[in-house]
């Protein structure tokens, strides 16, 4: 037998009429009252309808999110990379000593740029001695810098040799791994002693398995006694290792390595960073007097503070960030247009569905929300995947290049903010278009 509840009486052969009182209410749904309506909000329903829509077009949805997630991954990776570079530069600047002003010969070029050392010769050890008497100055070291071939036994290595006062150890925050830094006496007597960096130790001594302290190395056909080995400071911010260095007493370097009254640098440590400007002023005035520079003529020296260096480095990294993130943002925009494209196709394809929904009582905002939520989910999903992939790429690059892996809250939240706004901005037009469809036209479409 085949029947419905409504036709029950008929199909079972019971005689008509159907108007008998017993049948009156049979087969009708109980009536609804005003209280039954508007019991639940419709955003939840809109959400589940949107999810169904995405699931029904899995492949297309996935390809759409692809555009967003590549963009977000690029942004995240770019942020991690630049933050890593920034942290690295900051580290190496602070490792050179905080509250430090460096005086170099030659006219100051652009603000904060480092003039090539040794091109002009104007600074002397007497200048350094004069600077050390200024107020707020805690330590001063003149520096002579030469590149030198260093030989130990059958090993040799080309490195930077710096002649400096013992005070340089505290100015530049060097820690001793083995032995000791040379003493003030060593400097006064211009003894042939040396403190070597980790790289030099690795190149000269590690192959032979010899403890460097107490050994004798040869530089410029002269013998130097190794008294200490430095702790590693890691890679420098501007290329090259800070550990590839040998320190010898300033007087020794002046007599034996350079043989000149002129020096390459004066490093000045001051008591507090807030005094940087006043001390810089005092140094400038002092040196202008000593060098007899007329007012209006360019100085034959220039000052760089670690503060200025940090500033410059920050400028540099923020430009780098803008550049990289800008490029990544272009791909995000392309991804957003992809979402808009797909949503417009989806609205066109589902015109009839929209017509059905409107005809059975969906409000325009229900239709708009349905498509807006769909676009939002697609872009947020893309943002989430992009964040994960971007973190992976960022981790890969930083660990390959030895940069620190820095994650800030910004680099975690930014992708979500970006992808959510892309979803809303690029999803709004198709959604509004869907909501404005004429139900009669929509129902007529295929």
């Amino acid at each position: 037998m085949y029947a419905t509840d409504l036709l029950e009486g008929v199909s079972s052969g019971v005689a008509r009429p159907a108007h008998s009182p017993s049948r009156k209410k049979r087969g009708m749904l109980p009536p609804l009252t005003a209280r039954d309506f508007d019991r639940v909000g419709k955003l939840g329903s809109n959400l589940s309808i949107a999810l169904e829509g995405i699931w029904a077009n899995r492949l297309r949805s996935m390809l759409t999110t692809l555009g967003i997630f590549i963009g977000v991954a690029a942004v995240v990776a770019a942020l991690i990379l630049t933050q890593g570079v920034s942290a690295n530069i900051t580290n190496s600047i602070t490792s050179l000593g905080t509250n430090v002003i460096t005086i170099a010969p030659g006219a100051a070029t652009t603000r904060g740029a480092i003039a090539p050392a040794g091109t002009t010769q104007s600074l002397t050890a007497a200048d350094a001695a004069a600077v050390s008497k200024l107020a707020d100055v805690t330590a001063v070291s003149p520096i002579i810098s030469v590149n030198q071939q260093v030989i130990f036994s059958n090993q040799n290595w080309n490195t930077r040799v710096e002649g400096a006062s013992p005070s340089l150890q505290t100015i530049q925050n060097w820690t001793i791994a083995e032995g000791a830094w040379y003493s003030a006496t060593d400097e006064q007597s211009a003894r042939s002693v040396a403190v070597i960096g980790q790289t030099v130790k690795q190149k000269l001594f590690d192959p032979l398995g010899v403890d460097p302290v107490g050994q004798t190395i040869r530089m410029n056909s002269q013998l130097y006694h190794v008294v200490g080995v430095l702790q590693s400071k890691g890679a420098g911010g501007f290329g090259g290792s800070q550990d590839d260095v040998i320190f010898v007493p300033f007087t020794t370097a002046q007599d034996r390595l350079k043989n000149s009254t002129y020096i390459d640098q004066i490093v000045v440590q001051i008591d507090d960073a807030s005094n940087t400007n006043t001390v810089q002023q005092a140094i400038t005035t002092l040196l202008e007097q000593r060098h007899r520079i007329q007012k209006g003529n360019p100085d034959d020296f220039n000052l760089t503070s670690s503060q200025q260096l940090l500033q410059t480095a920050n400028q540099f990294t923020s430009i780098l960030t803008i550049l990289l993130v800008g490029v990544a943002a272009i791909s995000l925009t392309v991804g957003g247009i992809g979402i808009m494209n797909i949503m417009i196709v989806s609205v066109t394809e589902r015109t009839r569905e929209i017509g059905i929904r409107i005809s059975i009582g969906a409000q325009r905002q229900d239709i708009r929300n349905q498509f807006l939520i769909e676009a939002l989910i697609l872009s947020l999903l893309g943002g989430l995947i992009g964040l994960l992939i971007g973190l992976l790429i960022g981790f890969g690059i930083t660990s390959l290049t030895g940069l620190p892996f820095v994650i800030t809250l910004t680099s975690l939240l930014l992708p979500f903010a970006i992808s959510a706004s892309i979803g809303i901005v690029f999803g709004l037009y198709p959604a509004v278009r869907a909501a404005r469809l004429d139900p009669i036209e929509a129902l007529r479409s295929l």
């Binding site: 509840d5 087969g27 969906a362």
Partner: protein, 297 residues
């Protein structure tokens, strides 16, 4: 929140009673059981479309009343204005001129938002092409008007099951429309039209895509619903189908040509009862359906 705003605007809507007696109406739109009052009152309805600079007068002043419990067939050749009339009655469109009261409410001047609520709560639609969502199960399709009506999930499911059982699809609730025959799809559509307890069931060529057997079945269901008090307006161009109704309204050139009662309407339920057991194909289908008749017990 949106809806509460909506309903408050309904409270302020002019609820002019076309008949003399003023009646206290619910501030919300639900099927107010205004027994004896006309469900539809249409007065001097005009609809003019513009094709570029040329006006097309689809309706030129139609006046009509449909009382509660009537079963009206709207007939007429294509271009007669019956589709336009149908769209206006179904609140899918607004008249250029004239008034339309549905269940005591002047709907001809309502906003889009208010019309959507009217479609949701006062009107049930049955279309020629079924118009089910192809991705959704029968149950889900039937639930949809209640989703937009904001009914609770429990009530939605309960009523959707009830409605599907009512049209004899109790065992096929989880089937997709593509897994159902045309007649079954139309029965799902009828179930969907019923779930919000509408004041009016609007059927637009409901048998147009069905063979004559299934047409009788659908008409039998509609007749049964009508006998239980549901007002039905059915648009058709088939004179046979109109014979199952109680009143025939004929349109021509945008005007009402005839409005007459159907003399001795045919009884679709009796015809269906006579047909059903005799047809071997149907019987086999019944077996395939797992003997839906057990629902009766």
């Amino acid at each position: 929140m949106e809806m509460s705003k909506n309903t408050s605007s309904f409270a302020s809507t002019e609820t002019v009673e076309p008949t003399a007696a003023a009646e206290v109406t619910s501030p919300r739109i639900v099927n107010a059981d205004n027994q004896g009052k006309p469900v539809i009152v249409v007065h001097n309805l005009h609809k003019t479309y513009w094709l570029g600079q040329t006006p097309v007068h689809a309706l030129r002043g139609v006046s009509l009343e449909v009382s509660r419990g009537e079963f009206v067939a709207v007939m007429g050749p294509s271009g007669s204005g019956k589709s336009t009339f149908m769209n206006l009655i179904g609140c899918l469109d607004r008249p250029t001129q004239g008034e339309y009261w549905l269940a005591g409410k002047l709907v001809s001047h309502m906003s889009n938002q208010e019309l959507a609520t009217v479609r949701n709560r006062l009107i049930g639609f049955v279309f020629q092409g079924f118009n089910l969502l192809s991705r959704a199960s029968a149950l889900h399709n039937v639930e949809l008007p209640m989703v937009y009506g904001g009914l609770t999930k429990e009530l939605r499911e309960h009523r959707a099951r009830q409605a599907l059982q009512l049209v004899g699809l109790g065992t096929r609730m989880d089937h997709l429309p593509s897994q159902l025959s045309g007649g079954q799809q139309q029965r799902v559509a009828i179930a969907r039209s019923l779930v919000n307890s509408p004041s009016l069931l609007l059927a637009d060529e409901p048998t147009g895509n069905l063979d004559s057997r299934t047409s009788i079945e659908v008409m039998a269901i509609l007749q049964a619903l009508n006998q239980q008090g549901l007002t039905i307006v059915l648009v058709t161009h088939e004179p046979d189908i109109a014979e199952y109704t109680s009143r025939r309204v004929t349109f021509r050139d945008g005007r009402l040509l005839r409005d007459e009662p159907v003399q001795s309407p045919r009884d679709a339920q009796a015809e269906w009862a006579a047909l059903a057991p005799a047809d071997p194909e149907k019987t086999s289908q019944a077996r395939k359906e797992g003997n839906t008749s057990h629902v009766r017990n």
